[in-house]
Symmetry: C2
Subunit: 418 residues, 2 copies
């Protein structure tokens, strides 16, 4: 048909295809021994954890009361001679024989001969060293947790790939593990570029702005489980950029912001190539963030995994969108997560929203769970420099290219920023 105009340029790379390219180059970092401190929270085990004992290590009283023989209490009522008191942490010294009982505390080992525990509330200690019991007829095993019921010696209690949460900390302590083998936090070098930038503690002069991308990336990297190292601001000058890029390439991941779009001074891709970085893509069909660059830097001599290098655009909303779509999944994979994301949530638009865009657009939005399901509302936004809009947002909602009047009730894929 005559109104189909051939594209001037080859079709641009789609987000999903760009993500697939990145994935090819990412392997989990080599595991390291890690002590079981708060810093290990959220890390991924690189080896199975096996129990070195039964838990409980003995038949254990689950309540305070009396360890008895069920055969002595066919009706639930009776008077038994108390032969011993067994606090938690002590080993019973005596066997419970017919007509006898031992006072027992929660957590203590059941004495030989006994097969049930009667709750303390159902008993009365008499003066003569006997206990009077008035309860329903006991069943064997009542209020007793059998040895090994939670775990047996030799059980794999936490398999490789387990993410360490508080409950896993408790299980590790139970089986005596104070150090684990886990994938470490990736070190991430952060380099801001641009002659117009000054550090946040400076007062911008004519034509200058403060560098917000440094602080933004430090926080994004930290939240995603990386260890950020901020290298500072590089001027748009090869002599300044070159040594800072070299420094940044020592880390497993290097993030640059600025200097990747088509302008005359956009030096970053060429300087990266000069430094030995192999470019895999430069431009993705998305808004904001189109000029995003990805490359890898093979280690000289071939030792170790290549560094992963992202050239992010200079505007902060572009930085955030590219980080969430490309970098956060990389950091999760380096940390050993099997499923690095990102995950989209289908959410219902809360209000009509007319929107025109030439590319798939990740628009700042407020995402909320309601009893009726997920709801998303775009927040006012004036473009990729408008970071303030993101302070009203907790998500990015994906709008398709075109001139649309989206309707309340329509469903859109949404990326949570939490």
């Amino acid at each position: 048909m005559s109104d189909i105009v051939p594209a001037k340029n080859p079709p641009m790379l789609q987000v999903a295809d760009a993500q697939a390219i990145v994935r090819q180059y990412v392997r989990p970092l080599p595991p390291e021994p890690m002590p079981l401190t708060s810093a290990a929270l959220g890390h991924v085990l690189a080896a199975d954890v096996v129990s070195d004992l039964d838990m409980p290590p003995y038949h254990k009283a689950m309540m305070d009361g009396y360890a008895v023989r069920c055969a002595d209490l066919p009706s639930g009522k009776g008077t038994l001679r108390v032969i011993e008191e067994i606090p938690a942490g002590q080993v019973p010294r005596r066997t419970v024989e017919a007509g006898q009982a031992s006072r027992i505390m929660t957590g203590a080992p059941i004495p030989p001969g006994a097969d049930a525990v009667i709750l303390i509330e159902r008993t009365r200690l008499s003066e003569n060293g006997c206990v009077e019991i008035e309860d329903r007829p006991p069943k064997p095993g009542q209020n007793i947790l059998p040895q090994g019921a939670e775990m047996k010696c030799g059980d794999t209690v936490l398999p490789t790939g387990t993410v360490l949460r508080p409950q896993e900390f408790g299980v590790l302590a139970t089986v005596g593990r104070t150090t684990v083998l886990a994938h470490p936090s990736p070190r991430v070098a952060i380099l801001s570029t641009g002659d117009e930038l000054v550090e946040p503690d400076q007062r911008p002069q004519g034509g200058q702005i403060r560098n917000s991308n440094g602080a933004l990336l430090v926080a994004l990297v930290s939240r995603a489980g990386g260890t950020p190292r901020y290298l500072g601001i590089a001027r748009d000058d090869p002599a300044c950029l070159r040594p800072m890029i070299c420094d940044g390439l020592k880390a497993p991941v290097l993030l640059l912001s600025g200097g990747v779009s088509a302008g005359k001074l956009d030096l970053v891709p060429s300087m990266l190539r000069e430094a030995g970085v192999v470019a895999h893509f430069h431009k993705v069909e998305m808004k904001p963030g189109k000029p995003v660059f990805f490359g890898t830097y093979p280690r000289p001599g071939g030792g170790g995994e290549p560094a992963l290098v992202f050239g992010l655009p200079g505007n902060p909303v572009s930085v955030l969108a590219c980080f969430e779509l490309f970098v956060r999944p990389v950091l999760r994979r380096l940390r050993g997560h099997a499923d690095p994301g990102p995950h989209y949530i289908s959410a219902v638009l809360t209000e009509d929203f007319a929107y025109r865009t030439d590319r798939p657009t990740y628009h700042p939005a407020h995402l909320e769970w309601t009893p009726a399901g997920w709801r998303v509302r775009p927040v006012p936004w004036i473009g990729s420099a408008d970071l303030r809009a993101l302070t009203q947002a907790n998500a990015l909602v994906l709008f398709p290219p075109g001139d649309h009047r989206h309707r309340a009730g329509q469903v859109f894929e949404t990326l949570s920023l939490e």
Copy 2:
């Protein structure tokens, strides 16, 4: 009716009522200056942040191209003399007059006289210092972000109560704030009690088990934004407990585990009272966790807020349930969060589940978001000592007391543990 038996004891405190009691005693910690490092992530602002400048600080080019006067290009086509090149970070020196244009980079200030930016892709630089333009007729303001469009000097850009996320870090950097006033992380002292306990690096002997609650609580406190200080294991002996409790009461929050149920050796509540702790409740209608104790310790001399003291039961699943229901909201409130939770999610049971219990029960469960809504599946669980069950869980599902055959498709309130 004759089968109604009067309760032996007064009705037990319900979870919601116990939470309301705790809330009465919690105020946000006094704010402190906090540098804008990764450690500030998740903290809550205690003062408004006001911008010290307009953003952008000048009319700013949003694209690379040429700054022009629309009046010169009524048809969108024309040839203009290039009078200057304005990189980002530099101040234009010349006014654009009729028939003139200035080459301009993304982020640079628009020169006086110009009222639009033509994209570089729509232009061709000719040999004689002129630029040939072929575009649609430009509109005034095209590709220009006006001064102050994102924020104006004096605007409150982040109000009191804002939670610091990466985007807030970027905004703070933009307005030159490298330190903020925020509520600090509460220090939380953690004390495990019980003669049966040995530290995780020890081999348990007869009647002993390793202390899992210390590691569990350190991790729970860290994840909830507190700063844990593990005090160690106290024997069930006043001479051992007394000084450790005194030490723990120096912190804003003291968590003990063990020693709160009805047994003879359950010393914790009495030792706390002896130390000056005022008891507010001891026992809540819940499973696991019924014997939970809460008290406050007025500071000697009346200076400062009282310490908040929780006596948690000794079994680790009870510890986790009580922490999520009572302690995590306290830590959030101390950190200045307006809405400390906990929040329940209504989720659909995935399978039939027969369950008998005498109290509202928080059962370990797997909670999952699906396109059809939230789904919850109870995981196998043998009771309050069975921490291993929680490694299969990411939530607690609340089952009512009674002997029930719950059906797949029924909706239950669920507490996420993420």
